[in-house]
């Protein structure tokens, strides 16, 4: 286990920014996901921590010790890339034992550790196969075993599951987290997939344009996104524009057409805002159930269309003159027929409110 600190770390490639002024602490034994779109600085951050790149500015500390100028091979970091980077002409076992042999570790002991890792990762029996004889998921498990076998205390992974099929990705997400926790590793895992970050991580750092936009537990960043950017990145949302108004000590968002939605906000009356409505928090009911519902907001809406996508129905609605998307788990007894009227019920805490930015003129 190791505690990792990045202090004011920047990396520029000539004039192009990789990351800028990153301050980040990853606790002992913590699983941190670094989340962001392409170009947000995820890979640069991974490479800097592993020592595959040196920062232009700032320092990196492991357990309080400055490792900024320590080369990668002396950092005890296991690295897993998107591509598996296995040696094609070596068997699975030789691939995994390559590190310990180069590092001149006790081979018998390393073999024993490798066997345990194979069993933890469900690849026992594949030791003598060559990489092209095992599936993509198994290749990445081999890469993982190779990263950990030589006493790594810190595991750094750059979008390790990206190349895999969705189904295998799900399974490996659970395996990864279990493995990291079982071995007590500190782990940093970069991904562009929100779902994956929720699945694996204790905390998530959301990156934007080379900077950390927000860091927190999955629940914190999801429920209290600091910016529209984070909210949009974390969930499927539609936006409703309006103005804040207080009535009977309750705060409302009033749309241009005069519809009122009760919300929670500290913003003053008259502020122009954007309300984000996460698709999964819009609850849909038949109109006949109106009297039974106990919600802060109940509005009528018209179904534009709906489709079943696995465990969800995705329903497009015309709601308060805006086209919004709702997601409902299957199994709920509502008929999502086109053009039918339904009720959309929400609680005041369901909306994320952001002050409206005035558009700059080009």
């Amino acid at each position: 286990m190791v505690k990792v600190e990045l202090k004011k770390v920047s990396k520029f490639y000539d004039k192009i920014r990789g990351v800028e002024d990153i301050n980040l602490t990853i606790k002992d034994g913590e699983y941190l996901a670094v989340l962001g779109p392409t170009g947000a600085g995820k890979t640069s951050t991974m490479y800097l921590i592993a020592g595959l790149l040196s920062p232009t500015d700032g320092s990196i500390l492991f357990d309080g010790e400055d490792v900024t100028s320590l080369p990668a091979e002396d950092r005890d970091v296991g690295f897993v890339f998107e591509e598996y980077n296995l040696f094609p002409r070596m068997t699975v076992e030789s691939n995994v034992l390559f590190g310990p042999i180069v590092k001149d570790l006790d081979l018998n002991e390393s073999k024993q550790i490798a066997r345990e890792l194979f069993s933890l990762l469900n690849i026992s029996g594949k030791e003598n196969n060559f990489p092209d004889e095992v599936s993509g998921g198994q290749k990445q498990r081999v890469a993982l075993a190779r990263a950990i076998v030589a006493n790594a205390k810190l595991l750094v992974m750059d979008d390790p599951l990206r190349a895999l099929d969705a189904k295998i990705r799900e399974i490996l997400q659970i395996e990864l987290r279990n493995l990291v926790k079982e071995l007590g590793l500190t782990c940093i895992h970069a991904t562009h997939d929100t779902h994956e970050s929720f699945r694996v991580a204790d905390r998530i750092a959301v990156f934007k344009d080379g900077k950390v936009e927000q860091i927190g537990t999955p629940e914190e960043v999801y429920n209290n996104p600091k910016s529209l950017y984070v909210a949009r990145f974390l969930g499927e949302t539609t936006t409703i524009d309006g103005v804040i108004q207080t009535l009977n000590r309750k705060k409302f968002l009033v749309t241009e057409e005069g519809a009122r939605i009760e919300i929670v906000t500290d913003l003053k009356d008259g502020s122009e805002v954007v309300a984000l409505a996460p698709a999964e928090l819009l609850d849909i009911f038949p109109v006949s159930e109106k009297s039974k519902l106990n919600y802060d907001n109940i509005h009528e809406a018209t179904i534009i269309d709906s489709k079943c996508i696995g465990e969800f129905y995705e329903i497009n609605l015309s709601y308060l003159n805006t086209s919004v998307k709702a997601k409902e788990l299957i199994g709920k007894a509502v008929d999502y027929k086109e053009n039918s009227q339904v009720l959309v019920a929400t609680d005041k805490g369901d909306f994320r409110i952001f002050p409206k930015k005035r558009r700059r003129k080009k």
Partner: protein, 371 residues
């Protein structure tokens, strides 16, 4: 529109690799079909068989009842759209779309009318004179589609056509693509690794594994009536419980899982057989043991201990170790008011209609499904 029929089609490469095994199915006129399955399941081989770039080792392919073995790719009336756009960078949108009718030697007037109609269909008229470098990825894909339309193809083969697009744009494009195919009355075959894309875009979906057709059906069929353990595994999210059929007489069969008896859909597997019971994660009802004492709503349940109650945004996932030590996961709505603590004992309610039994695979579940 064209009806396509595969009749016992097998394709063997290098005399040993059986990429597609004894495949028989019919795609109706104007149908939108998706092929899904893990990598190596034979999806791409099937597309190549449609196109005629490879021929079946055994079996036959018919387009509108006409055998295709001696019909070359040019004469099959097929259009392609790939993940990577394969449009000519040195030609404008208009020139790209006009390529096929020009090569076919159509008259200038015919070319113009074809290209204009195609560009109108994909809503690219205003970008006709632009070069690909100045367009966005979705517009490249629209150009590729317009090119297919202008070639007067009746069958559209799509190989991961949305693979290079960002999630949000991808969803919009799914709607656009389906509407276009329906409006132009094409028969479409769409290969994707994304099951939710397949479920939302297609009339029917074919699930493939190891070169075999596992099941073909409407999205709802696959989700609610999987007839093969692999469909249960690959479409939606299920866990597989290890049980034994005790009573197979009624509409609902009784199975024993560990020490408990529960009811599940009767899949006509005789008593005494070992089965894998697929339970859909979103249909599991997790409840605290004390809560429903007064009213035993849940009488079809297993007991277990919570490993983790994980926040996932839209959903929470509750991982539970059952009494028989199997680990399963329930998906519950983020708004579900009850939270579960680690090591808490819980009831896991099973909806009998959505729990389906399959013969227990001899090689074990994870090997059978190659997880």
């Amino acid at each position: 529109m064209t009806e396509i029929r595969f009749q016992h089609v097998t394709k063997i490469f290098d005399r040993k690799v059986e990429a597609v095994k004894n495949l028989s199915f019919v795609i109706e006129d104007g149908e939108y079909i998706s092929l899904i399955g893990p990598s190596g399941c034979g999806k791409t081989t099937i597309l190549r068989l449609f196109a005629g770039t490879i021929l079946p080792t055994r079996g036959q392919i018919f387009f509108d009842e006409k055998a295709m073995e001696n019909v070359s790719i040019q004469d099959r009336n097929i259009g392609f759209v790939f993940q990577h756009f394969a449009i000519f960078p040195h030609m404008t949108t208009w020139e790209n779309v006009a390529y096929s009718p020009t090569v076919k030697g159509k008259s200038k007037a015919e070319i113009e009318s074809l290209v204009e109609a195609a560009l109108k269909s994909v809503q690219l008229c205003d970008k006709a004179d632009l070069f690909p470098a100045t367009l966005t990825a979705p517009d490249w894909q629209k150009t590729a589609l317009a090119r297919v339309l202008a070639s007067e193809a009746r069958i559209l083969l799509l190989d991961e056509p949305l693979g290079a697009l960002d999630q949000k744009i991808r969803e919009e494009f799914q709607v656009f693509l389906r509407n276009l195919v329906k409006k132009e009355k094409l028969t479409a075959i769409h290969v994707t690794h994304d099951q939710s894309e397949a479920l939302s875009i297609s009339d029917r979906v074919a699930v493939l594994n190891k070169g075999e057709l596992v099941q073909i059906g409407t999205p709802t069929d696959l989700l609610f009536n999987p007839n093969h353990i692999f469909t249960s595994f690959f479409v939606g999210e299920s866990d597989f419980l290890d049980g034994i059929v005790i009573d197979d007489k009624d509409d609902l069969a009784k199975v024993r899982i560990g020490q408990r008896l529960i009811e599940v859909s009767n899949m006509a597997i005789p008593s005494g057989n070992r089965v894998a019971i697929a339970v859909r994660r979103e249909f599991l009802k997790v409840s605290k043991i004390k809560q429903d004492k007064k009213k035993e709503e849940l009488n079809n349940f297993l007991l277990g201990t919570v490993i983790q109650d994980q926040f996932m945004g839209i959903l929470r996932r509750v991982r539970i170790r059952l009494e028989n030590q199997q680990i399963i996961e329930a998906k519950i709505h983020a708004k579900h008011p009850v939270h579960f603590n680690e090591n808490e004992r819980v009831k896991v309610g099973i909806n009998p209609e959505s729990a389906r039994c399959f013969e227990y695979p001899k090689e074990g579940i994870s090997s059978a499904l190659e997880m």
